[in-house]
Amino acid sequence: MSVLPDIATVPVREHPRTGTWSSPTLRYVVGRVLSAFGTLVFVVLFNFFLFRVMPGDPISLYTRGRAMDQDQLRALRSQLNAPLGQQLLEYLTNPFAGGVDSIRFNEPVWEVISPRVPATLLLVGTATVIATLVGVWLGIRSGWNRGGRFDKVSTSTTLVLYSMPEFWFGMIILIVFSVQLGWFPVGGLSTPGTDLGTPAGWLDVAWHLVLPVTTLAVIYFAEYSLIMRASILEERSQEYVQTARAKGLMDSVVRRRHAVPNALLPTMTLVFLNLGFVIGGAITIEYVFSIDGLGSLTVVALQGPDVPLLQALFLLFSAAVIVANLVADLLYGWFDPRVRT
């Protein structure tokens, strides 16, 4: 009764602090969400028209060499040739189906896409987690003791790995570990006939994933490590770090409690940006290691092209990037109060 009303009536400008939600925060969140939504709407429409202006006659191509009469062809074309307004309406009601089946698979596009999502998520997700952990750790180590032996070895190794062409690197890994040493399978996600519901099945999948995940992680971690190193270097020379040192704090405490949290921000942005592309798969890696994910599906859809499938995939990929961006923005706001105001 006594204290609360007083505070409520006094217009105190809240000082934004890490981890609290205040009204500027709310404005920030709403702003971000709205802008993401706007982008999404734009992409949905752009996607629709993009595929309508592409030249070519995929139906004739798919039916080349088959005995089909004109009525059958007309039926196949009817879904692609419907009036634009009607197509747009169907598309907006359900962008992943729009009443149009994949030309190549003869199934609703979502039924073609959905079984391939887990493979891609498993591959790129695992690789991203490993790459982030290893990359960040390496970056901190080498940045904090710049010029040290660890830094020299790690930076040069990282640079070599970073500049390696994916296909070539993957193929080398495959030839050495699968063919010459025979430790890992050449391709696929599981041994034919393995029941994936059992622990042995899971182990089998893990065994199949070792090479592709390692290849992908090696390519990703280099990037994270370089960025992390650069931002640690920048933070190290900041005055607050000197202050912390002057206070007599231990070197490791200064690093862990003061420098790293600030230096993590750019890397975090990068990780989340990349997360958006996770769903797009690592086309090259899926191709080298014969993994049937969204990346290799995109390659298949491009041959033809299978317009309805390609359209749905493009939409899915752009939506994933937009959502990941939004999450990154929101988290950034949470971690870095300066952004919110």
Binding site: G56, Q70, G187, T191
Partner: protein
């Protein structure tokens, strides 16, 4: 610092060893490919594409047909030796003297894989389903075109009534389906019916194998059918594994992950030659590539369309161009020797039908020039020939961005044509763009090809007047004809062969038609290309080529190899049968070489980095 680095190294080492250990542990736990006494014989095929559907009314991919013919019988089959017609599910057949009915005698005592009797009723059901179903006709419409009625008069007799005589009646490649299963899948459900077997519920079929599992995009497993009328195969299980690129396919064969690699390219096949335990096959194939000429684009009603150069309507010009191309050089340089020089549109693989023209166009640029001079195309000031009105012989040649072969061979053809004074503008487009360009008649020449079926009807129909582009509403669509060839005599020969049920008499007509096309030259057939296959000859033996002796071992018209292959006998197994990759096959020099390369790259990187760090450090210390 030193401790950290050691720790890091130790961690990395532990990780590697750990992963390796997991790998080997699982490897030894998983079904080993070397067949032990009681273990099933598994034949693993690696291929580049997945099936598009396991439903025989839906699937159109070559991989799908390979599965269908394993699962379901057909009335007759194509012999492995020479594609002649041999008994399948039917043991005999006969056309009535008045040519109005065909009577098929079905084998008696045959059962489906689930034990249900397989009778003439199933045949009747299948054909009626195709006859009466709109969706069912998409794949099999051409077989039932002339069938008016199908009736099973008893358990082993089926009578087809035909509206007109047709040679296709003895090669009805329609997969016979079990009525007791498919009757429950109505005309609506069939469009989305998957027909994928599971280990508990395999598909019900009457062929040599039935499907027990499919993992989309990964693999398909087929199990031997104990009730197969041709006798149970020696192989217990076939596994099809899907690889995304030819290199991986070749590596999988080397590693022993697969026993057979289908659809290799020339480079990978060459790299496998001479590898111990592997046999490579450059199989003659039913495909050809051609340079097609726009001989006067028009709709099926004769209305001219497109912007093709009218000079190509001159048959003398086209014949002169035929003399300008060294086809054998194309085979050697574009195909790496894997093929033969092209002549007519029915490939020599079909020995009974193929015509080797007596008046063959050889490679003779001088003759080509002389013919062009005679036809009135004199050389112009800049070396490009012109007609009497001064129009340049300058043509657009489209090649396909989807095919490196197409682009290479177009480059060669361009230089051959230019050598005789005909200018070529090369354009590279995607196949789906090209089919539209061709359908509208907006081209002069293009490079493409066909894969020809054992029955020549479809291929020959691509040159009929009726199959030129057509108009649907306001839009013009491509039909089968892509040269717009239209000739009355050819069309009447086409009609004649389509009702000739005597195969020798029909072959004569088909040869006349090839001669006509060869002389009129709407196509310049560049080459017949080979299909590369490779297999583990240390594990399986007994493959049957189609045709004999240098044809394909798998992906045939028929399932000949699957039914006759056997695992290599145990005595030899003891010596060479160990999983090829692990102990014996390790190529240490290669590994050491690669290791050395990585170390060198690392050292160079380290040196560079050190130099750079020094610079930075000195700047920093000021």
């Amino acid at each position: 610092m030193r401790t950290t680095r050691l720790l890091a190294l130790a961690a990395a080492a532990a990780l590697t060893v750990g992963l390796g250990a997991t790998g080997t542990a699982v490897a030894s736990g998983s079904p080993s490919p070397a067949p032990a006494a009681a273990e099933p014989v598994v034949f693993t095929v690696g291929m580049l594409g997945d099936i598009d559907s396991a439903n025989p009314f839906t699937g159109i991919a070559a991989e799908s047909y390979e599965i269908f013919q394993l699962e379901y019988p057909t009335l007759t089959e194509y012999a492995s030796s020479d594609f002649s017609i041999v008994p399948g599910l039917a043991e005999s057949w006969e056309e009535s003297a008045d040519k109005t009915t065909w009577t098929y005698k079905i084998r008696s005592g045959v059962t489906w894989s689930d034990g249900t009797p397989l009778t003439a009723k199933d045949v009747e059901y299948t054909f009626n389903r195709v006859l009466n179903g709109e969706y069912e006709q998409t794949n099999y419409g051409s077989y039932v075109e002339n069938i008016a009625k199908v009736e099973a008069t008893d358990d082993t007799t089926v009578v087809f009534t035909v509206s007109k005589p047709s040679p296709i009646m003895e090669k009805l490649y329609v997969y016979i389906l079990p009525q007791h299963i498919w009757k429950d899948i109505d005309e609506k459900a069939v469009t989305s019916y998957k027909n994928e077997g599971t280990p508990k519920e395999p598909t019900v079929g009457g062929g040599a194998f039935v499907m027990v599992e499919r993992k989309v995009g990964q693999y398909i497993r087929m199990q031997a059918n104990d009730n197969y009328y041709g006798g149970r195969p020696a192989v217990d299980e076939i596994v099809y594994r899907i690889y995304k690129n030819e290199d991986a396919l070749g590596q999988a064969l080397k590693a022993g992950e697969i026993d057979f690699a289908e659809g290799l390219n020339a480079n990978v096949a060459k790299s496998l030659e001479g590898v111990e335990g592997i046999t490579t096959v450059s199989a003659v194939y039913s495909g050809f590539d051609e340079i097609a000429f726009n001989v006067g684009a028009a709709l099926d009603d004769g209305t001219a369309i497109g912007d093709g150069n009218p000079l190509l309507e001159d048959v003398k010009l086209r014949q002169a161009l035929q003399w300008a191309v060294d086809r054998q050089a194309l085979v050697d340089k574009v195909l790496g020797g894997g093929g033969s020089a092209g002549s007519t549109v029915i490939p020599p693989i079909y020995a009974d039908l193929h015509l080797e023209p007596a008046n063959a166009f050889g490679y003779d640029p001088e003759k080509a020039k002389a013919l062009l001079d005679d036809a009135g195309y004199a050389e112009g000031p800049d070396g490009v020939r012109v007609d009497s009105e001064g129009n340049e012989l300058r043509f657009r040649l489209f090649s396909r961005s989807d095919s490196p072969t197409s682009q290479k061979s177009s480059e060669f053809v361009k230089s051959y044509f230019e050598a005789v004074g005909v200018a070529i503008d090369l354009k590279v487009v995607s196949e789906d763009a090209l089919i539209e360009i061709v359908g509208q008649g907006n081209f002069d020449m293009f490079e493409w090809g066909w894969v020809v079926e054992p029955d020549p009807n479809y291929q020959l129909s691509t040159f009929t007047c009726a199959n030129r582009s057509y108009k649907d509403g306001e839009d013009i669509y491509a039909n089968l004809s892509d040269s717009f060839y239209c000739d009355e005599e050819y069309d009447s020969l086409f009609e004649k062969q389509s009702v000739e049920t005597d195969s020798a008499a029909r072959a004569e007509i088909v040869k006349q038609m090839q001669q006509k096309l060869y002389d009129d030259s709407p196509y310049l057939v560049t080459f017949y290309y080979d299909n590369y296959e490779a297999y583990r000859s240390d594990r399986f033996t007994g493959f049957v080529p189609q045709p004999d002796p240098d044809g394909a071992l798998l992906f045939q018209y028929g399932t000949w190899s699957y039914e006759s292959i056997k695992p290599v006998v145990k005595a030899e197994q003891g010596e060479t049968g160990a999983p090829a990759a692990s102990e014996s096959g390790v190529n240490w020099p290669v590994i050491i070489g690669i290791g050395a390369l990585v170390v060198v790259a690392g050292l160079v990187g380290a040196l560079l980095a050190r130099g750079r760090n020094k610079d930075i450090d000195s700047d920093d210390r000021e």
